[in-house]
């Protein structure tokens, strides 16, 4: 899978820095209550810098000025985090938009003419932008498809790498589920008639860019709940610290030489306690999560869909395309009669040496793999690998006489067999069992028995014959996508149930399900039943994710909590799903689950970290702020900091600097591997909860030591 590369260049860096200042506008900041309070605090601190005696107790201007600067830095860093993340999202949108180049279009005057017979007179060349919905255009080999549309006639191979990054061309043809073409992609061979399905500026790509931009700007549902939680915490601290000012006045009534608490220091305390870290990074976490999805070439139409992906209980998977490649490959060799295994492998290998079909390649691969395994075992006598000492053993075994492609007998519809004629005249053939049976002169009695058994297990038997004698059977089975069993095991570990629905017969379905460890499977499944399956699972209260590409998948895609439509599929499917995979790789839904979880997890981990930080901040700031009135409170200062001013400034430095320090983590997402909920909770509790208790102590003490070394605040 290739990735769309997103780079933030220095201009964008500069833009992010500029944005951090522009976003100081209170009208913008009020949307983030946490940061808004920080800004208000900064303004009060600024006033105190100018008029130090605004609230009776006056401190030095330099000290107040420093507090002001650090508070302002907190807001600026927070704004930067948000702006940076949004620019990253926009950068992706721009990279998509660059694909939108205006091209000329060949609009058909006479739409009735056969696609293979179109001549220059049948169309007019117009500007791509002037096309209207419903126009029929002709796209010849080498032309760029001018606008999104549906193939109405013909079939062509199309290079969609511009949007998918996938270099292999795809087939687009009229009828069926592969009719839709995307503007900006190029026809490599053959020619098609395309009906334009979108207006200018409303193409699929335009819509996707719009969706990505909208989705990155809107808060997700969980983020709204999170904002309430953070606003609540902020309100608690406003009350807790605000009332301290009055408590200070009470203290002043009986402590001689103390006139009240320093307002600037109270503001410092308030802002240090407020969840500024997570408040600043919330937007970045969302944008980064969305961007991680788009980087995998999946367009999520909403942030809600990405969150829901993390929460899926059940995945409904197709068999073909998701779990299997749709090809059948050799799984096993069966010897018949008194033939040795070795002879069957050799004959199968020889017959497939120049067979370029997937089956043929898979026979070669299996034979070579068995050869390798046999040698690794040391090779028992009688074992198929015993006589084999190199991957190309057939050649050496044939006394140096090399087989050549000229000896290959290709598959023909007439014989339904392929094979090779060896230099000594030996005919080696393989093919469908009945075809080989018809060809052969000697058929062992067990042929039918073994081939039936293979068929019953969902496989396809191929008979192998040498010189008219059937000597064995090659068992073909569905080819599993590489690594699919591991990925299914992985999501099962996360507690996601997997259901496979396939139109295939029960035997094939059972075999595939057994191979990859699918929890439940449905065979002979009509795509129309998918909606019922989705609803049935949902009625158990579960969240369902599914993939689909056909028009008949559309209702189920719309009903599912996460519907990942394939870009190669029909427009109806793409409209219905809440995500579209540009690579049209259905097993990618498993990755999307991981990204959704990571998004939520990053949010939770940083919240825990942010709140745990407060414990240390209390231990540092309360004794510092009350130092004048309550010198005895120094007993609470377990860090033994050099001076109260140093404690306040060091805490604010930590508070501000931790934001940019955590931006990379917010953008990357917390480390995550598939494991059970309990194990994850334990791990994250230790890393972010316990880590959050310790980190500020270490940082603040470090900054304080730095101040001592610099000789300030002493």
């Amino acid at each position: 899978m290739s990735e769309i590369r997103i780079t933030i260049d220095t201009t964008q860096q500069r833009e992010a820095i500029k944005q951090s200042a522009v976003r100081l506008d209170p009208r913008h900041l009020v949307k983030n209550p946490v940061l808004f309070v920080v800004e208000v605090g900064t303004v009060i601190a600024l006033l105190l810098t100018v008029y130090p005696s605004l609230f009776d107790a006056g401190g030095s201007r330099v000290y107040y000025g420093l507090i002001t600067v650090l508070l302002a830095a907190t807001v600026l860093f927070a704004n930067y985090a948000e702006a940076y993340a949004e620019l990253e999202g926009e950068a992706h949108a721009d990279s998509l938009r660059e694909l939108q180049t205006e091209t000329d279009a060949k609009r058909l005057r006479n739409t009735g003419v056969d696609v293979e017979a179109i001549t220059d007179d049948d169309y007019e060349t117009v500007d791509g932008g002037s096309l209207e919905q419903g126009d029929i255009v002709y796209v010849d080999e080498g032309d760029v498809i001018p606008r999104d549309g549906t193939v109405v006639e013909g079939s062509a191979s199309v290079d969609e790498s511009a949007i998918t990054g996938e270099s292999d061309p795809v087939i687009r043809q009229s009828g069926g589920d592969r009719t839709s073409v995307v503007g900006g992609t190029e026809v490599l061979s053959d020619r098609i008639k395309v009906e334009v399905t979108s207006e200018a500026g409303e193409s699929f790509l335009d819509k996707m860019i719009g969706l990505v931009e909208d989705a990155t700007r809107q808060k997700t549902p969980n983020e709204i709940a999170m904002t309430i939680l953070l606003s609540g915490l902020t309100l608690v601290f406003v009350v807790a610290v605000g009332t301290m000012y009055f408590f200070g006045q009470y203290l002043a009534s009986f402590v001689t030489g103390f006139s009240g608490l320093d307002v600037a220091e109270l503001i410092a305390l308030l802002i240090a306690l407020m969840p500024t870290t997570i408040g600043a990074l919330l937007a970045a976490i969302r944008v980064a999560g969305m961007t991680r999805v788009t980087r995998r070439n999946v367009i999520a139409k909403s942030g809600r869909a990405v969150e829901a992906a993390g929460d899926l209980d059940t995945l409904v998977l197709d068999k073909t395309g998701t779990i299997t490649t749709g090809e059948r490959v050799a799984q096993e060799f069966h010897a018949l009669g008194d033939t040795t295994d070795e002879a069957v492998v050799r004959a199968s290998y020889q017959s497939s040496l120049y067979d370029e079909t997937t089956e043929g390649r898979s026979i070669i691969e299996l034979a070579e793999k068995m050869n390798g395994e046999a040698r690794a075992d040391g090779g028992d006598a009688g074992d198929i690998g015993a006589a084999i000492d190199s991957p190309r053993w057939v050649e050496t075994d044939l006394e140096g006489e090399r087989l050549s492609e000229d000896d290959f007998v290709p598959f023909s519809a007439e014989t339904r067999m392929s094979g090779i004629d060896l230099p000594d005249g030996t005919e080696v053939r393989k093919g469908a069992v009945d075809a080989v049976e018809a060809y052969a002169t000697s058929v062992p009695g067990k042929l039918r028995q073994v081939s039936n058994r293979i068929s019953e297990s969902g496989g396809t038997p191929l008979a192998v014959a040498v010189d008219g004698e059937v000597i064995g059977i090659i068992e073909l089975q569905d080819e599993l996508k590489p690594g699919i069993a591991d990925r299914i095991a992985e999501i099962q570990k996360m507690g996601v149930e997997t259901i496979m629905a396939t139109g295939d017969n029960a035997r094939t379905a059972q075999w595939v399900a057994d191979q990859v460890g699918i929890d439940r499977h449905y065979a002979e499944f009509d795509p129309e039943e998918k909606i019922e399956l989705v609803e049935e699972v949902q009625s158990e209260g579960k969240l369902v994710g599914m993939t689909g590409d056909g028009t008949n998948d559309a209702p189920a895609l719309a009903k599912a909590d996460v519907g990942l439509a394939m870009n190669a599929g029909t427009n109806a499917a793409k409209e219905a799903g809440n995500m579209v995979d540009l690579d049209s790789n259905p097993s990618k839904i498993i990755e999307v689950v991981g990204i959704g979880k990571q998004l939520l997890m990053t949010r939770g981990a940083l919240t825990t970290f942010s709140v745990a930080n407060d414990v240390a901040k209390y231990f540092v700031l309360l004794p510092a702020i009350l130092a004048a009135a309550l010198p005895g409170l120094a007993g609470m200062d377990i860090l033994n900091l050099s001076s109260p001013q140093s404690a306040v400034v060091a805490t604010l430095v930590y508070n501000a600097v931790i934001i940019p320090l955590l931006i990379p983590l917010a953008l990357r997402g917390v480390d995550y591997e598939a494991q059970s909920g309990s194990a994850l909770l334990r791990k994250n509790l230790v890393v972010y909860g316990f880590g959050g208790l310790i980190a500020p102590f270490v940082f603040i003490k470090g900054i304080d030591l730095l101040f001592v070394a610099m000789g300030v605040f002493q």
């Binding site: 608690v236 408590f247 009470y250 929460d311 939770g604 825990t608 009350l626 409170l633 909860g689």
Partner: protein, 589 residues
């Protein structure tokens, strides 16, 4: 008389409490099994409870007929909340009328006066809200008031709290069904099956120890050793005391509350009464697990709050078994022997440990009863009491306690689910902003209604004129009073001359706001959740029965409590502790 070793007392108390929480918890779970829509099954050794159904059922049926309750009429959250408010409003009016006019009512054996308008407002509000904060001495009420106003209220207000629990359980057991049950049925069942039999049992134990029980006389006259005549107030002590402790009430007949021998005669009665406080509240938390079909989860919740309770009790014992620095003086060559601990204003028969465990039991529940003068506690002991308030009285009140701790549990589930990459849900119900805003309203409510009035009181002569000790202790006196009102606790640090219009009105409003705003918000949460689908939980979900969940829950409770109230505590007990300036030399109470 020698008290047992503190560790022994500590171990016996918490050991017995744990066993009783299990037994009473299973009993409570059985009582409301249907009202909670639970799939409750009785453990094997509790199956005999089924036989009680017939007897209780007949009594309840009779009450339903007399009171015109239709048990099958189910309420949605708004109707339920309206029923709670209406029911409590009636109690309030009855209390107010009796208190204001008690001089003209029967059974006024000793000729007490009616309460002033502001004191009656405070007292009626305080008892209606199950707070039992008293700005009067218990002796100033008539036997009629004690029996028919205070006594009955002491059953009906914890029953109100009990009645909320099954409704909240429905929030999680209902699948897309907004009906939360019938509030009145819950109140009747809670009173008939839970409060009456258990407090009758406690009352009998108290009478066996020598506690007074009469409604026919208001006082007894005794001749003292010095030949003086002393009139001692008596009344339905044993009965009131039993429900006072078990129903997280707290307002006693005597101003000296449970330190008097009439209410609490012996160390054994003290143990019984101390146990009665946490057993009632924690039983509700235990029962939660049975109602939602996850007894282990209930045990985890009990464990979390029980550990906090036990830890704070440990701090309290450490404070009170140590010496009081203010008593460390020499006068005329005499010193105070503090080898057993800080004995000022403590009963010898309870000792420092028995008093400390009681003190923390009273503030780890919303019980207002006291058996020692809290204002005489050391700064460390006072800190443990106030910190229990800061986390909303740990297990809070009967019924309401469960709902309040569930607010913290929901926050824990919210954060915990995110930490494992799931959208937040608790017991299969998705937690979204609609619920979270009310959860936070409830959690924020305590700091708002405590700290803002506190800021006013300490800077206004209206507030400061009432304090008995200057400085940090004076701050603690007001803070304790406001906490006590705002957490519906009712106990007092005392020392505060609080029968003033200012304190009567401020505290009166606090008790009402503290009780009814969270209840309505919690019923709203139940209403939202009840209408949601139940999502199944699997290995990818947050395991609410794991030790990690327990740790996160304790962490969130303590951090939220500490973060909110630590600044205020610095101006009270923490400042006192670190400044070494215990204030008793300045004429403490």
């Amino acid at each position: 008389m020698a008290n047992p070793h503190p560790l022994l007392e500590y171990a016996v108390f918490f050991g017995l409490a744990a066993v009783l929480i299990y037994v009473v918890g299973e009993y409570l779970a059985w009582i409301y099994r249907d009202e909670a829509h639970s799939t409750h099954t009785l453990p094997r050794h509790f199956e005999w409870l089924e036989r009680l159904d017939g007897i209780f059922g007949r009594i309840e049926g009779f009450i339903y007929r007399v009171a015109g309750i239709t048990p099958t009429r189910e309420m949605n959250w708004k109707q339920f909340a309206a029923a709670v408010v209406l029911f409590n409003a009636v109690i309030w009016v009855w209390l107010y009328v009796v208190l204001f006019f008690q001089d003209g009512l029967p059974m006024n054996y000793v000729g007490v006066d009616g309460q002033s308008w502001d004191l009656a407002f405070h007292t009626a509000s305080s008892f209606t809200s199950n707070t039992n904060q008293q700005h009067y001495g218990g002796e100033s009420l008539s036997v009629f008031t004690h029996t028919f106003a205070i006594g009955i209220t002491m059953f009906l207000t914890p029953a109100t709290g009990l009645g909320l629990m099954p409704a909240f359980a429905r929030a999680f057991n209902n699948e897309e069904n907004p009906l939360l049950g019938n509030f009145y049925v819950n109140v009747v069942k809670g009173t008939v099956r839970f409060l009456l039999p258990i407090s009758a049992f406690i009352a009998v134990l108290l009478i066996s120890q020598g506690a007074v029980q009469t409604i026919l006389s208001g006082q007894m006259t005794a001749e003292t050793l010095t030949m003086g005549i002393q009139n001692i107030r008596v009344g339905p002590h044993a009965g009131i005391e039993a429900i006072k402790m078990f129903g997280t009430n707290g307002g006693g007949i005597n101003a000296a509350n449970a330190s008097t021998a009439f209410e609490n005669p012996t160390p054994f009665s003290n143990l019984v009464l101390t146990l009665a406080m946490p057993v009632g509240t924690f039983a509700g938390i235990y029962a939660w697990g049975a109602w939602v079909g996850k007894r282990t989860h209930g045990i985890v919740l009990v464990a979390a709050f029980f550990l906090i309770f036990a830890a704070l009790a440990g701090v309290g014992i450490a404070g009170e078994t140590g010496a009081n620095p203010a008593m460390d003086v020499e006068s005329n060559g005499l010193t105070v022997d503090q080898s057993v601990g800080n004995m000022e204003s403590k009963e010898v028969r309870f000792g420092p440990t028995g008093s400390a465990i009681w003190g923390l039991s009273t503030t780890s529940t919303t019980n207002g009863g006291v058996n020692s003068m809290h204002n005489s506690w050391t700064s460390l002991g006072t800190f443990s009491l106030l910190f229990a308030f800061a986390i909303n009285n740990v297990s809070n009140g009967v019924g309401t306690g469960l709902l309040n701790i569930l607010m913290f549990v929901i926050v824990t589930a919210f954060i915990g689910a995110l930490m494992i990459g799931r959208r937040p849900q608790y017991l299969g119900k998705k937690l979204e902003w609609q619920e979270i805003r009310y959860v936070f309203l409830v959690i924020l409510w305590l700091p708002i209604i405590v700290l803002i009035p506190q800021a006013h009181a300490v800077t206004s002569s209206l507030g400061t004129e009432a304090i008995a000790n200057p400085g940090f202790r004076g701050f603690s006196e007001i803070l304790y009073e406001f906490f006590s009102a705002s957490a519906n606790n009712g106990s007092g640090l005392e020392g505060l001359a609080d029968d003033t219009p200012y304190y009567n009105i401020v505290n009166g409003l606090q008790v009402l706001l503290a009780r009814y705003v969270p209840i309505v918000a919690q019923l709203a949460i139940a209403g939202y959740l009840a209408e949601k689908k139940i999502s199944p939980e699997g290995i990818g979900s947050l395991d609410t029965e794991s030790p990690a969940f327990l740790v996160l829950l304790i962490g969130i409770v303590v951090i939220v409590g500490a973060l909110t109230f630590l600044p205020a505590l610095v101006f009270g007990p923490i400042g006192e502790f670190f400044s070494g300036a215990d204030v008793f030399l300045n004429g403490g109470v």
